[in-house]
Amino acid sequence: MKTDIILGGVGGQGILSISAIIGTAAVEKGLYVKQAEVHGMSQRGGDVMSNLRLSSEIIYSDLIPKGQVDIIIGVEPMEALRHKAMLNPEGWLVTNSTPFINITNYPELEDVYAEVRKIKNHILIDADAIAKQVGSVRASNVVMLGAAAPFLNIPEDAFFTAIQRIFGSKGEDVVQLNIDAFKAGFAEAQKVIESK
């Protein structure tokens, strides 16, 4: 078993948190993990990405070869598209539809969505709206994690254990919020998959 994931977003949107949840869940299930992150200057409002590799075999490279990415998880739609050339044409692009606009030349949103829809396997959901319904827009990154979970080959319970471990120190409310966010994202993705 081998799953190669790219997470894309803007510095401060929480991709390192969901990367850590997936990594922790994978280690919980005895998988090898490699997770390359971006620290430093780009974290200041620039585009950030994480290469996350899970495998039952030893993983050598911290970076995923071009065209071999199984899943792109975008917490922002243009940032998901930024890594499109890395995607295996049979892979999935799962992204939030809510843009993060901190530049003056952000493209027309409909053009961005049209590009997402060109990808054979895609899920485009409004994670911010879903997160708000669940309790806080700040959990939109974990909504996206839930939406990507059907493709990650890791059982649900391992994610809940990981969320508990990572958010436990912030209190039970935060843990529950993130579990709810995960479930809501998962359910939304199921709807898309079933409609296919």
Binding site: G11, K34, Y60, P89, P107
Partner: protein
């Protein structure tokens, strides 16, 4: 035996702690920062069993580490690659003094310049100082190497340079730690009381000892196990892969079996015998190095009359930038599958100052004060505020090295620039700005120094700044006139007032210091969140 998921940086810190480390010193710098952050957070540091500290700069960090070694204990200094330039003086000379307690210097290189102003390769520094260099292939090896590095340092009486690059520094993987960590060395001064006295007569003796030691250091590279000759059946090509380049090579072969003979190098000086064996048994050679083509250049020599050698020098691989599995696939003439074309709608999203950042107000005031003078008057420095070079500010005209704002402003003023403005952060000022300011004061150079005081080392994630609470005293002590030191509050409300003060100081024919002071918005928000969480708990 416990398995932890660690960044490469964290694996180095944990490996050092488990190897009997007594003290670690550093100045933060991407991608090396997380080594010392991890050590500071460790229970050993919190219990006072080890010393883990941020220092004024990389030079003071390394000198403190040499002092620990002098006292017989194991020490470490960590820095980014350009930090090693700052520490170059103690670095070069520590090879001549040798060590008492084991001494390891970690330099984290940043090929592709993700967060740096150059991509220099620290392995050259190792060769220059005639020190062994270790370059771990992965997080586990980074952990394992620390104990070996300290042992090697003590056994061969020499500091050891550990060189890593961004990808390893900032990538996590499972690391198996030892169950029992090593005891710290007991305190003990050097047997030879003159070992660390580099007077010419003693330095000449010590240097000869270093030269005599070199064959042993070379021998160590052949037998340590970190370098490996992996035989292959297809002798049409031989491959040399250094550090993490080996991972990208492995990634390109199904079942992780490479048909060609390979020399994997993670310890320098490079293992001559292994390389000779490879060279003699294959038709041509491909060299994969994360960094400059160091081994490739040496193997080719000036005349390049031997076998064909492919690598960065002949264009097989780009001369600059970090490697990845796809670059190596191309170098191996492997078929690269068609992928989806990139989307035209995607535009670049450069980093920017955070909403609410005090530097925004400072630059708005500075730009207005300079409106009449026009472009080209601001020499800046290294930190978040370097982003003032980009839209919408376009406010600064240089970023060269830590501290260069003040000294370049001085030089430009000497050459006729007026007003000559230096923009420097509080932490960068205590790192390398103070001495340059003294130069300007001594010579009464008309410069306006803006010290952006956000109370932290912001770019690297908010480490404490040694300048906090003492900037005015430092400037006064160095000799800046009291009437020409102004502390501003960089908020919109005081914009006009701030512009007027800055403009007035342009007219002063000496050194002025202007200190816009407001807490970094990132550390402020983190502090407020922490307070809120504490309240919620109680």
């Amino acid at each position: 035996m416990q398995k932890l998921v660690l960044l490469g940086d964290e694996a180095i810190a944990q490996g050092a702690i488990d190897a009997g480390l007594t003290a670690i010193y550093a100045y933060p710098g991407t991608p090396s920062t997380e080594i010392t952050e991890y050590a500071i957070r460790s229970k050993e540091a919190r219990n006072g069993q080890i010393t883990a500290q941020w220092t004024a700069n990389e030079k003071t960090a390394l000198e403190a580490a040499i002092g620990v070694s002098y006292a017989g204990k194991r020490a470490m200094a960590c820095m980014k690659h350009v930090g090693l330039n700052v520490a170059a003086d103690p670095f070069m000379n520590s090879a001549i003094t040798g060590v008492n307690g084991g001494l390891v210097i970690v330099s984290a290189d940043d090929p592709s310049m993700h967060s740096s102003q150059n991509e220099q390769d620290s392995r050259f520094f190792g060769k220059f100082a005639q020190m062994p260099v270790l370059e771990p292939v992965n997080q586990q090896e980074a952990y394992d190497m620390m104990a070996y590095a300290f042992d090697l340092s003590e056994r061969l009486n020499i500091p050891v340079l550990m060189r890593i690059t961004t990808r390893l520094a900032h990538s996590r993987a499972g690391v198996q730690c030892v169950s029992e960590k090593r005891q710290q060395n007991s305190f003990g001064l050097p047997k030879d009381s003159r070992q660390f006295v580099l007077l010419p007569s003693i330095a000449r003796r010590n240097y000869k000892m270093l030269l005599n030691n070199w064959p042993l250091i070379e021998q160590e590279s052949e037998i340590s196990g970190f370098n490996e000759y992996i035989d292959g059946t297809d002798k049409s090509l031989g491959i040399i892969a250094t550090g993490i380049a080996f991972n990208y090579l492995m990634e390109n072969f199904e079942n992780r079996v490479i048909p060609f003979p390979v020399v994997r190098i993670s310890q320098y000086p490079e293992p001559t015998e292994m390389i000779r064996k490879l060279y003699d048994s294959v038709d041509k050679i491909l060299i994969l190095e994360e960094g400059y083509p160091m081994i490739e250049d040496r193997l080719k020599g000036t005349l390049n009359t031997g076998k064909t050698i492919h690598g960065r020098l002949d264009g097989t691989i780009s001369r600059d930038g970090e490697l990845n599995p796809t670059i190596i696939a191309k170098a191996l003439n492997k078929h690269i599958p068609e992928t989806l074309p990139p989307s035209d709608v995607v535009v670049s999203r450069p980093p920017a100052l955070c909403a609410g950042c005090p530097h925004i107000d400072s630059y708005n005031a500075l730009n207005e004060a300079l409106a009449e003078a026009g472009q080209g008057h601001v020499l800046a420095d290294i930190g978040c505020y370097t982003l003032g070079a980009l839209e919408p500010f376009m406010a600064v005209n240089s970023c060269v090295d830590m501290g260069a704002s003040i000294t370049m402003a001085k030089g430009a003023a000497d050459a006729g620039l007026h007003p000559a403005v230096a923009v420097i952060g509080d932490s960068t000022f205590t790192h390398s700005g103070m001495t340059g300011l003294l130069d300007a004061i001594i010579h009464q150079t008309p410069i306006t120094v803006v010290i952006l005081d956000n109370g932290t080392t912001g770019m690297t994630g908010g480490q404490p700044s040694e300048a906090t609470g003492r900037l005015e005293d430092i400037c006064l002590g160095l000799g800046v006139e009291k009437d020409h030191i102004h502390v501003l509050n960089p908020i919109k409300k005081y914009h006009d007032e701030n512009v007027a003060i800055i403009k007035k100081e342009f007219d002063y024919q000496g050194v002025s210091v202007i200190i816009p002071r407001r807490e970094c918005i990132v550390t402020l928000n983190a502090r407020l969140r922490h307070i809120k969480a504490q309240k919620a708990k109680s």
